[in-house]
Assembly symmetry: C2
Homo-oligomer: 190 residues x 2
């Protein structure tokens, strides 16, 4: 509103920044930091967080492979439309299967970036923010990713965030660098 | 791109134009005309059409009251996010239950307008674009709205389009008048 900035890093087109990783890997924390950083830049940004989205968008949907895939296909569709209309979408989902992440990539197209929040299982179990690992390890939760359900790490993500080596702020900055480089490269170099 | 228009009717905020009515009432035809008209104005616009959305977004979802409602709640969520980011969403769904339409209204908030595509059942049966009424009347399709499943007409829609009395173009213009008046009224007068 108060004149144009000297350097325009704001994208004219949207993106989908898809954060995948084990429960408690740090997806939500990084996603929230990223959301604030992008909003501070004046970018149209939307945060879709797995736990929240399950309440509002996919109530009652279970955790079988089939249900997870159907759920994430709908999320992918949501990302596609928002990205198309210039929004930067931060999608933070365990999204354990390569196939469903590839589906999302196909749906969104050019603007998609897969970001692997890479935290070792032992560290996720140590953090156990909501006590879910404890319950899963006690056999109280079935189909819990990392314990009783598989997690397929990305084979060629656009970015890997190693949360054991870097702070949240550093991880957020790594994602911002990615978005900036994709903007300046017109997304050819992804 | 080529300078500013003299009169700005383009909204800074989005809207959801929710078209409801019996199968073959004319929702898709009006929605498509509306989509072209809004796009020609340079507006960010998205068309969500029931039949198409069921393929891409809600594959395998059935037609029981419960499934219809869950499906339309997800569509409502989609409308909410797009509307929030300045898109004019045209949602064309039979959406037979008042409750689910009211859910969508609540989710979207201010920018929501319910538009009743009011075509008598006899005329819809006469049109029967895809031969579905014939099959429903022969008992081959269960839960077909208007025949073997209820349709609850809106009690207080923002607009009613009587397709027996008005051409498609006239109906489209009536919706455009609604969007313009809501824009100029800052949506107070809805």
């Amino acid at each position: 509103m108060s004149g144009r900035s000297r350097e325009t890093t704001t994208p004219s087109r949207g993106m989908t920044l898809w954060l995948t990783g084990l429960p408690c890997a740090g997806k939500t924390t990084i996603a929230q930091g990223l959301f604030e950083a992008l909003r501070a830049r004046g970018q149209a940004v939307e945060l879709l967080d797995g736990d929240e989205i399950r309440k509002e968008f996919s109530a009652g949907v279970g955790f079988s492979r089939e249900e997870r895939c159907a759920h994430l296909r709908r999320v992918g569709f949501l990302c596609r439309l928002l990205t198309k209309h210039g929004v930067t979408v931060i999608a933070a989902f365990v999204s354990p299967y390569r196939e469903t992440r590839d589906d999302a990539r196909r749906m969104v197209g050019d603007g998609f970036a897969e970001i692997f929040v890479d935290t070792p299982l032992a560290e996720c179990i140590r953090r156990d923010v909501k006590g879910m690992y404890r319950r899963a390890l006690a056999g109280e939760i079935r189909q819990f990713t990392g314990i009783s359900d598989p997690y397929e790490p990305p084979l060629a993500p656009e970015l890997t965030l190693r949360t054991m080596e870097h702070s949240v702020e550093e991880c957020v900055n790594q994602v911002l660098e990615l978005t900036d480089s994709r903007m300046s490269l017109g997304r050819v170099g992804s």
